[in-house]
């Protein structure tokens, strides 16, 4: 099957090896093959995959993974660490100029997301870093490209440099820079025209803009969905323009974004930002660890958080939170929250999305799902009063509930224990709230997460 996660691929190998939980050189080769397929499906460049898997093999041999109890996880960890290290060892700050406005020039293929990213970058500079920003449209070719940037500038309340589309982009860039100097801007952002990979006319235009304005940053937009050709594109741009960094766009999609690794591996250009959504606030600094998970097909916390946001009814969650803090938390509330969390995805899915989470085996997942069903059966067999006041339950009532739900007394006790734990958590939350601080992660779904046993 295509696009299986690496964890599933490894799982399949081990099933085949039946109980040989230890790594041998032979089954390591088999696992490296799976790593290879996973990387290729992530669009990591063929040559990079080859070099990378060799690196990993060497490193694994050096680390004596053979005698470890869980060698496949070791191997994934080595891959993961290697990718993370490769992607993240550079300083990714913008190189601000001293004494004059910092010029940032965005370049890239058509449709990579230059104009949108120009807006996002402007927003970030202005609202998060307090810079005075000027947006300059230099794409005089694509119909309505200038309109698009003007609309964006208005939306984020950033100054826009009105241009005459009949003038050459080189002149426009110079004019924008002059305005930035004269009017004391901190940052000026050039949005250039996109073209197909090899277009000498465009490259010359970009070269001339650089010659005339000496931008402090030349950032290449790389589409997370791009395929094997991405490295050639980056090379062409880098040879002609000497790039200072990359912006990965469309990382909110489900592409694994192997181009990031390929380009970094072959050119060493650091990835500075990542586009993570449709809104103009959705530009993030680049997180190498998340990217490593993603390339290996190990999920992504951000995706989980987004999914959670979609699935959880926010009003209901807020109501629940208030109720919980007022100590009115009932078993019904607990069950509803557990269900909301379940709506986000199966338990296994959630566990896979969180890097660093102990990976659940299939059996463990099943056990957790079974527990959820037990809970539901037990709670459904209670009266409404009992659900609101589980602390009042006596032995005879518990017996009745156990019989009614077809479960045991121990099951009933487990539900009550979980309820008490959740309530205890609420108390702590309330203390947090009083002290004015919020625990990390906020309130939404918290009781539910607790209810799931992690």
């Amino acid at each position: 099957m295509a696009f299986e996660s690496l964890t599933d691929r490894f799982g399949a190998i081990f099933k085949k090896l039946r109980g040989q939980s230890r790594l041998t050189e032979k089954n390591m080769d088999e696992m490296l093959k799976e790593i290879r397929v996973a990387l290729l499906e992530a669009d990591v460049n063929f040559k990079v995959v080859k070099a990378f898997t060799n690196d990993v093999k060497e490193r694994a041999l050096g680390q004596d993974v053979y005698n470890k109890v869980n060698p496949s996880q070791m191997l994934v960890k080595i891959c993961h660490d290697e990718i993370e290290e490769l992607l993240g060892k550079d300083n990714t700050d913008i190189a601000y100029a001293k004494g004059h406005p910092t010029a940032i020039m965005l370049v890239g293929l058509q449709g990579a997301g230059k104009t949108t990213s120009a807006g996002k970058l402007a927003y970030l500079q202005k609202n998060k870093l307090g810079k005075k920003v000027l947006l300059a449209p230099l794409d005089v070719y694509r119909p309505a490209a200038i309109d698009q940037l003007r609309t964006i500038a208005k939306e984020i309340d950033v100054d826009f440099f009105e241009v005459d589309p009949k003038k050459s982009p080189v002149i426009l860039a110079k004019q924008a820079q002059e305005k930035a100097v004269n009017e004391g801007y901190d940052v000026v952002i050039f949005d250039t025209a996109g073209r197909l990979a090899i277009d000498e006319v465009l490259m010359d235009e970009l070269k001339n803009i650089i010659k005339e304005t000496h931008p402090d940053e030349v950032l290449l937009l790389v589409d997370a969905m791009s395929g094997q050709d991405a490295v050639n594109v980056a090379n062409t741009f880098n040879n002609d323009l000497r790039l200072t960094g990359l912006i990965m766009s469309k990382l909110d999609g489900d592409a694994r974004g192997g181009a990031a690794l390929s380009i970094k591996y072959l050119t060493g250009i650091p990835i500075k930002f990542a586009g993570v959504g449709e809104k103009l606030t959705d530009l993030d600094i680049f997180y190498p660890d998340r990217m490593a998970d993603r390339i290996l097909g190990m999920g992504d916390v951000v995706t989980l958080v987004e999914k959670a946001k979609e699935a959880i009814d926010e009003k209901q969650a807020a109501r629940d939170a208030r109720k919980m803090l007022d100590g009115e938390f009932t078993l019904d509330d607990m069950l509803r929250q557990m269900k909301q969390v379940q709506k986000i995805g199966s338990l296994g899915f959630i566990a896979k999305m969180i890097p660093g989470m102990p990976k659940l085996t299939d059996e463990q997942q099943e056990a957790a799902n079974r527990e959820m069903k037990n809970f539901e059966a037990v709670i459904n067999s209670m009266t409404r009063y009992e659900r609101a006041h589980p602390e009042s339950l006596r032995f005879s009532q518990k017996n009745r509930i156990a019989k009614g739900s077809g479960k045991t007394n121990a099951d009933v006790n487990r539900v009550i224990k979980k309820y008490e734990q959740s309530k205890e958590m609420m108390k702590r939350l309330k203390q947090y709230q009083k002290s004015g601080k919020m625990p990390p992660g906020g309130l939404g779904g918290m009781g539910g997460m607790g209810g799931l046993g992690f």
Binding site: F3, L40, D43, G111, G113, D147, A224, M225, G227, D229
Partner: protein, 328 residues
Amino acid sequence: MGLFSFLKNKFSKKSKDETTEKYQKGLAKSRANFASKLDSLSKRYKEVNEEYFEELEQILIESDVGVELSLRLIEELLEKSKQEKITEPSKINEMMIDEMFVSYTTSGEAIENEIHFQKDGPTVLLVVGVNGVGKTTSIAKLAYRYQHQGKKVLLVAGDTFRAGAVEQLKVWADRLKCPIIVGQENGDPASVAYDGAKYAIQNNIDLVIVDTAGRLQNKKNLMMELSKIDRVLSREIPGAPHEAFLIVDATTGQNGVLQAKAFKEVTELSGIVITKMDGTSKGGIILSIRDELGVPVRFIGLGEKMEDLEEFDLDKYLYGLLVGKEEE
């Protein structure tokens, strides 16, 4: 006669028609890579061995053909070469093209490129895709094509989300002198589609092309919005949308398959338009999409001008990719 030599004969005759030349010109950069790689490979080996097949696999994967399909093609090739005792590198390369051809033509339905027009009333074409693939430009090219075939074309600006998208389509409508239906900024695209359908019926439009906002296929809400547009169209005009084209950027990697899968779930995709084929990418992803989902490529964008849209022709595509240097 192998298929490759057949194609070679077919297209290298002096009477090259215009589109064949356009294909070759448009694909020049892709071809330079793919063909010269194949060519130099077959020259470096006297007879094929394991490494030869590994290198072939690399060429396929580097063209974004996809891991699964590439591995399968190579496996079949290996088997066949053993069975038929063929060891000559250039023969093996030709066999590979044959395999690609057969694989493409046998997965999914038969291919007819031109839009299939309804007997009565307007024919509706819904155009979908992820962000930045060139939907709006492709729409302009399609409109131009069918205007030239004497059809009355209407454009519907269903991308109410991206700043400047409506203006961009308006610019094209002006140049094409064709009517355009525009809604409110950030308005409901389904209501624009509704207005478009109404206008089309009242004004005897032959072809309604509905633009939609680019959306990443994992955004549930946006995909639901798309299925709403689909529903509204079918309510106003029976059977609409009669055609739904997914626009795919030739530089797209493996995610292209997931795109096709997800869009197919919300609207019945009837074809793919591959854009930006005049770059250096080989667009191998179209083979994977056909292989996994059976959706055929209908048109191919080979340039930036309105007239730079061609019917997809597998023969020409493969030939365009694979003609050797001696043909240039």
